[in-house]
């Protein structure tokens, strides 16, 4: 029998996104781009965003890492695509709460987005893995901030 916390962490949807990450590609002519790196484990990610009229018309990532980091990046791109920059930034804050096992407080308009990110909540039972899940989100924030230095989880 497999431990129930493990089943929460590696839900089928997480395994699926980990194996077949969505939007794992380049965004040609991206307006925003950043690289992220977890120096302790070596995971790395590049996030590219196309921001048109305050809307994330496209977002994609490349890089490599564990199933959690890949699934988180994949779900992130799925969920953020089509949102406004302000909404994307709100979700980046909300996901931190979710990964710590707290109730994320957001705009009711984002309730559906939060629902779609719930499969990541199993990470909260694994404090050593939270950084795997946050890497892509930190990197997206760096991209939106227009920062050139790579985002780091340390």
């Amino acid at each position: 029998m497999i431990d129930s916390d493990l089943m929460d962490l590696y839900q089928e949807i997480i395994l699926d996104h980990g194996r077949h990450p969505r939007n794992h590609r380049d965004v040609p002519g991206a307006t925003h781009e950043a690289r992220g790196h977890n120096p302790l484990c070596g995971d790395n990610v590049k996030v590219q965003v196309m921001l048109v009229d305050d809307k994330l018309s496209d977002i994609a990532f490349t890089g490599n890492g564990c199933a959690i980091s890949q699934a988180s990046a994949s779900l992130m791109t799925d969920v953020l695509k089509g949102l406004s920059e302000q909404q994307a930034r709100e979700l980046i804050v909300a996901i931190q709460a979710l990964l710590k096992g707290e109730e994320p407080s957001t705009d009711p308009a984002l309730a559906d987005a939060i629902d779609r990110l719930m499969p990541l909540s199993g990470v909260s039972g694994f404090p050593m893995r939270v950084k795997c899940a946050t890497l892509a989100w930190h990197t997206t924030r760096s991209a939106l901030d227009g920062q050139t230095a790579p985002a780091k989880t340390e």
Partner: protein
């Protein structure tokens, strides 16, 4: 002196007797017995070491080499006795050749700063190997950059061994220093250190040996190796964290400038002039890790009292058994299968990242390391981003390998 030191009579090796010395091994994680296979990162501590550190504080704690009172005297005597134990463990000629440091990292930085930097010029080279730990790469890259010098890495073979020819081909008039692991923290490869040193000395090149992964597996003879410097960390040889040792030939140490300035390392001080103490005090600025150093001496006593032929046979058996059992796990890829290895196995399971693997086996109570093992150049050489690693200590058993293997199979099922 009231700091008690262990003097067990030598007993034939029995892993269950050893296990009883390590209290942490009887705990459970997630309701399962702990299977600790991460000793290469840090080894667990026997009761005598834990007690010794506590007893320093309970009975004989004061700053050393300073005050004249009874406690200061007891602490100083115990601290010096620990230094003498390390000297014997390494077979150094004299205790004065042993410098207490925070660990191997500080020891290597000390040698880089005080021995190598002053002799390094633009265009000079420092020779390492591809399998070094970051602690034996970064200090050299830092001083090389400062001096316009270059770090050259001797390549490893497909099986993870480091052939002597790689050194012979790269040593040149520009080579000023060689710094190599005695054993790899990822592949377990034991390097032909004595031969490398002989080759280097024939060209007048001094050699530092990073003994972090070798010292846990038996006594070291720095004189037989003819090492110029030998370093290890206390926490990897069943001693406390925060303390380690640098061995240096007195001929080198006596000529080296200090690494840090402060208390304890001086002869005379005024505002315009300072003269320095002789080694080892010259390199021990400030109050050291007193209780930890004394407890490290006790860890060395513990090791000295082991039946080493028995330990070696046990570790060799574990390594062979683990290698065979891991090979049975479908698609598992083992890295570094050189003939002469310490009890360390790095592996990966295609389709499962090492971090996921480590998290899954952890829930079965199994502690393994996952990641780049502070050896990114080696990961690049192996063509991977990360691996999992099982490393064995004197207290591990075959049945723990079985637990690892079934946990890995479980991971395979979860990710299939």
């Amino acid at each position: 002196m009231s700091v008690s030191l262990v003097h067990n009579a030598k007993r034939p090796f029995d892993v269950d007797v050893i296990r009883a010395d390590f209290p942490i091994l009887s705990r459970t994680v997630y309701g399962k017995p702990l299977v600790y296979l991460d000793s290469a990162a840090s080894a667990q501590k026997p009761d005598c070491v834990i007690e010794a550190e506590g007893n320093v504080y309970r009975q004989s704690y004061a700053n050393i080499n300073r005050s004249a009172h009874a406690l200061a005297g007891e602490a100083t005597v115990a601290f010096d006795a620990a230094r003498a134990r390390i000297a014997r463990f390494l077979n150094a000629k004299s205790s004065d050749e042993i410098v207490f440091v925070r660990g191997a990292t500080e020891a290597i930085n000390l040698v880089a700063h005080s021995f190598v930097a002053p002799i390094l010029g633009a265009g000079d080279e420092i020779l390492l190997t591809e399998l070094e730990h970051h602690s034996n790469i970064v200090p050299w890259v830092m001083i090389a950059k400062e001096k316009g010098a270059k770090v050259v890495a001797v390549p490893i073979d497909e099986d993870g061994s480091v052939p002597l020819s790689g050194f012979a081909e790269r040593i040149s008039a520009r080579t000023k220093f060689i710094s190599i692991a005695h054993a790899s923290n990822v592949l377990g490869t034991i390097l032909p250190v004595a031969e490398i040193i002989a080759l280097a000395h024939a060209r007048g090149i001094p050699v530092l040996v990073d003994g972090c992964q070798m010292a846990p597996h038996g006594k070291i003879d720095v004189q037989a190796l003819d090492a110029d410097f030998y370093v290890f960390s206390g926490h990897k040889i069943y001693g406390p964290s925060g303390v380690g040792a640098l061995y240096g030939k007195m001929a080198h140490l006596s000529k080296m400038p200090p690494y840090q300035g402060g208390g304890s390392m001086i002869d005379e001080v005024s505002f315009d002039r300072v003269t320095f103490a002789d080694p080892p005090a010259r390199f021990e600025a400030g109050t050291p890790a007193i209780a930890q150093a004394i407890a490290l001496g006790v860890a060395i006593d513990y090791l000295n009292n082991l039946d080493w032929p028995g330990v070696h046979a046990h570790e060799a058996d574990l390594l062979a058994y683990a290698t065979d059992r891991l090979r049975e796990v479908n698609s598992l890829r083992l890295f570094g299968q050189s003939q002469n290895r310490a009890a360390i196995i790095a592996f990966e399971m295609p389709g499962i990242h090492a971090h996921d693997l480590a998290t899954i086996v952890d829930r079965e109570g199994v502690a393994v390391r996952a990641g780049h093992h502070c050896a990114q150049p080696l990961m690049k050489r192996l063509g991977v981003h990360a691996t999992a690693r099982a490393s064995f200590g004197i207290y591990n058993r075959r049945d723990e390998v079985d637990v690892l293997v079934s946990a890995l199979r479980r991971a395979g099922e979860l990710f299939k």
